[in-house]
Symmetry: C2
Subunit: 242 residues, 2 copies
DNA sequence: ACCTCTATGTACGACGACGTACAGACTTCA
DNA sequence: TGAAGTCTGTACGTCGTCGTACATAGAGGT
């Protein structure tokens, strides 16, 4: 079953019972997501949902002034487009590829059809949505209380969790857009991390050398999000009843 | 039908079809929510959901240091306890009464039973949850980019929308806890608003004199949340299909 | 009338982040 | 090999918020 193999790379798909997977997979296509691609714009009616495998997508709010702030990060643990099954069909944020890679794409209506069978998919997606809510809430907290240095650590860890390996392909300029701060602020913070031997970077490639230390330098926000995600997405349990 | 009358004060309950209301209402009780009461603590397994009528409840994240930040505000437009039907059973935030009043309380299991009938309640609650997500996302943005003055305006407007009249019973100290800033910062901002003739306050009572001006002084965040809530909670449409 | 508690007002130095400007280093492509 | 573009480093004055400290005034109780 070739489809199944690829789908296992996305935790959400992998967690679904075999019968649900079999109904969905024939309709899914693997697409390339280049860096910077906008999957949907604020207010767009969503047509597809995306299940990232080795890509990362940011949900970004862009203000009237053009300034931006990241609301949450989505990788192989989740999907892009919760508004489709939540019923709103659109959101106020933009979905933009933060790390190039691949994703499975599914026509929204197919997902909704399965969702409306009220089985495992519904419960799985709702639990995932709650973990997304937690991430958004913690982003709000972090933006209020923590320094750029701490936020950079949190952001690196969240991104790292969604990729294989210990390298991020990402300029400081892009990170600044995500965090909603100046590029120079990221340069300062990254420079400090590099001098501490925690990371090493060069022209758009960041390697994490000491993850443990990175976690200790991060604010509590990363741990909160990580722990709650682990709890909510402990797939084996609760998936067949609410 | 005495139950129905009171339930109409909560928009979420009011939006439900008669048969759903009739099944739920016998199990609901009207409870008093005094200022400062904690409906649930971070990590608690939720037992009840609350549908506020004339009270306001804040979802607050409390950090290790004890500092806090409000994630979202809930009033007669929504309910407290989405984690129950989302499947997580608990959240990382605290629910605390910000404005005393009443609410309908319902045993979580009753709500889940109805939710699992996969009818109008499911779609209604999911759309509400999306509006809540929007509010959280915008809180993150606002915390990043806007001044205390702007955030105070946003906060006053959000609270005002959830109450009758134009008065808030709320000390500057409590507002500071919600916004996650110093009390003195709120004093400064509120003083400026008072000198502009936009509000008038005295020892824990705030009256809004000029709502239009308040909106113009607020950042875009209020309008974004308001507009999206109006869209998502335009009950008449879409409620019987996804 | 007095005391106590609570709510609000004001001041000042410290600090983090901002806006702006510009320099250096590496990459890409002609 | 040279030019253009990209990514990163550094500097400096400004501004908003913080932490701290203390003052004032109204509310409530005895």
């Amino acid at each position: 079953m070739p489809h199944l193999k690829g789908a296992q790379k996305n935790h959400l798909l992998a967690a679904l019972p075999a019968d649900v997977q079999e109904r969905l997979l024939p309709h899914m296509e693997c697409v390339e997501l280049p860096l910077g691609k906008v999957l949907y714009e604020s207010g767009d009616t969503l047509r597809y949902v995306y299940f990232p495998t080795n890509s990362i997508v940011s949900l970004l709010y862009v203000m009237e002034s053009g300034a931006s702030a990241e609301i949450s990060v989505v990788g192989n643990e989740g999907l892009i487009g919760v508004a489709l099954f939540m019923g709103g069909e659109s959101t106020t944020s933009r979905a933009i590829v933060q790390s190039a890679g691949q994703a499975y794409r599914l026509l929204g209506q197919r997902l909704k059809d399965e969702f409306n069978r009220h089985g495992a998919l519904l419960h799985t997606l709702l639990r995932y949505t709650q973990s997304l809510i937690t991430q958004m809430a913690q982003t709000a907290v972090c933006n209020r209380h923590h320094s750029i240095d701490q936020q950079l650590c949190r952001w690196l860890l969240l991104s790292l969790d969604r990729l294989e390996g210990n390298e991020l392909v990402m300029t400081q300029e892009l990170i600044a857009n995500m965090l909603g701060v100046r590029r120079e602020g990221v340069t300062d913070a990254a420079g400090r991390l590099q001098r501490l031997g925690v990371i090493e970077y060069h022209r758009g490639r960041i390697q994490v050398l000491n993850r443990v230390k990175l976690e200790s330098l991060s604010c509590e926000c990363y741990a909160v999000v990580r722990k709650e995600s682990d709890r909510l997405l402990a797939w084996a349990k609760y998936t067949d009843k609410v």
